[in-house]
Symmetry: C2
Subunit: 265 residues, 2 copies
């Protein structure tokens, strides 16, 4: 082992609690990628004027005798695994580049509503669901990153299954689960959580017409994370999340790479 | 303090070493943003066919009585603070979406060549510079994220000062510092580092014509981080870095948000 590694370095480590003696090195932690890739199948809102486009600028041997590949791309901000910055639904809310990154880094809880969703694809998380979760796992602390697991990432990128409808340019017949307004009010205004994340296309349900959850979150500069992937790999509590968005100046959101860090078993 | 926070959560913490008793909670750590914003001033290679473009799709009150803002954007992969995936210069190298994120998370070292650069804007880091750094700070461990500090981020986004030339569509007269081939060979082939990062536009110097550093790194699936910002805020050793790129399927690189985590003083 190198001198540097033994004596000077400062690796990220995880512990069961700040006061725990069982600290572990990040090198031992499992890194889970919660982001879908951006490609021609990336899902955008039905009314989106465009999709993800990748254009090849170069791909092959150069005159200099070496290989070179380079592309350009275009995308609406709100598609694929992406951030909702508060300004998306609040005129004076923070833009994507203004969000304090510390808000997007921290302990995560995963609230699982797959049973409710199996009976009702329009299921909206309730305040009662949250108090039931807290009865089992403890009261949510301020700054928590809340992840809602509906199981819908298994449908991605099948538009009809994921959105509940695939009529082009029509967002009136969407059916998918997400947060409900009373749950959002409890999480944002009472628990002061930092982020609302979900494995569907929106932090409001597909049938929402007034986007109350977005508005409740945006009003308090709470960020949204939409189209998350594979939340079934996370425990209800114990994971930490790091969500780092593209730094689009003035952006209302944009592509975000989201990871969960799990301690070794 | 909530029950959850006391008994169950698993926050990320930092320690001076994995065996240190002085572990600290991430909530106490300083999060430094090492990324420039994407905007109309974002710098691309002089021969780039396009720049960053943000198009407003909506911004204002809706018929529903609430505010709504949304944009789309276009960008070449290689501009602003961005990732170089190995396929950028290696035909069979990993693409942006294929990189193991664990490679982009870890302890960082910052090698400071500002003194050399003050005398020579074409300065290329040498193997001797690295062995001198190691004499002071210990041998670099495998998996290290190497950050080269030239001081050039202070010039960004002034194209003439940052690239050393602002002739449109001409990359032949660029003058800025970066890694040299013998340094890259030592770092990649002997030390097995994970990432080469720099606060200039390229991991090769501006006058490079054969991009040897890119090719040495790409051949071993070492990732590049270019146009980093504000490395003067980091210590030579002791920071951890998390670099999360946009997950562009088949991408040769792309926008990346890079943070450094510092323990409290």
């Amino acid at each position: 082992m190198s001198v540097l590694h033994r004596s000077v370095w400062c690796p990220i480590i995880l512990a069961l609690a700040a006061t725990s003696a069982s600290a572990i090195d990040l090198d031992q932690a499992t890194v889970l990628d919660l982001s879908h890739p951006f490609n021609s199948q990336t899902l955008y809102w039905p009314t989106s004027p465009s999709q993800f486009e990748l254009k090849t600028l170069a791909h092959g041997q150069t005159d200099g005798g070496f290989f070179y590949s380079s592309n350009s791309f275009c995308s609406p901000e709100h598609g694929g695994t992406h951030l909702d910055a508060p300004i998306h639904f609040a005129e004076h809310g923070k833009t994507a580049d203004q969000l304090d990154l510390a808000q997007l880094i921290g302990p995560a809880v995963v609230i699982d509503v797959r049973e409710q969703v199996a009976k009702n694809p329009d299921y909206a998380l309730t305040a009662d669901d949250i108090t039931a979760f807290e009865a089992n796992h403890g009261k949510l602390a301020a700054g928590t990153i809340v992840l809602l697991q509906t199981g819908y990432s298994k449908h991605y990128p099948n538009r009809k299954a994921y959105f509940g409808d695939d009529t082009p340019n029509d967002a009136s017949k969407l059916h998918f689960p997400s947060y409900g307004p009373d749950a959002a009010t409890l999480l944002v205004d009472k628990r002061h959580v930092a982020v609302l994340g979900v494995d569907t296309a929106s932090i409001d349900i597909g049938q929402s017409k007034d986007f109350q959850v977005h508005r409740i979150a945006a009003a308090k500069n709470v960020a949204g994370l939409e189209n998350l992937n594979g939340l079934d790999r996370l425990p209800p509590v114990g994971a930490s999340v790091v969500a780092l968005p593209m730094k689009i100046e003035g952006g209302s959101g944009g592509p975000v790479r989201v990871i969960a860090l799990l301690p070794p078993k």
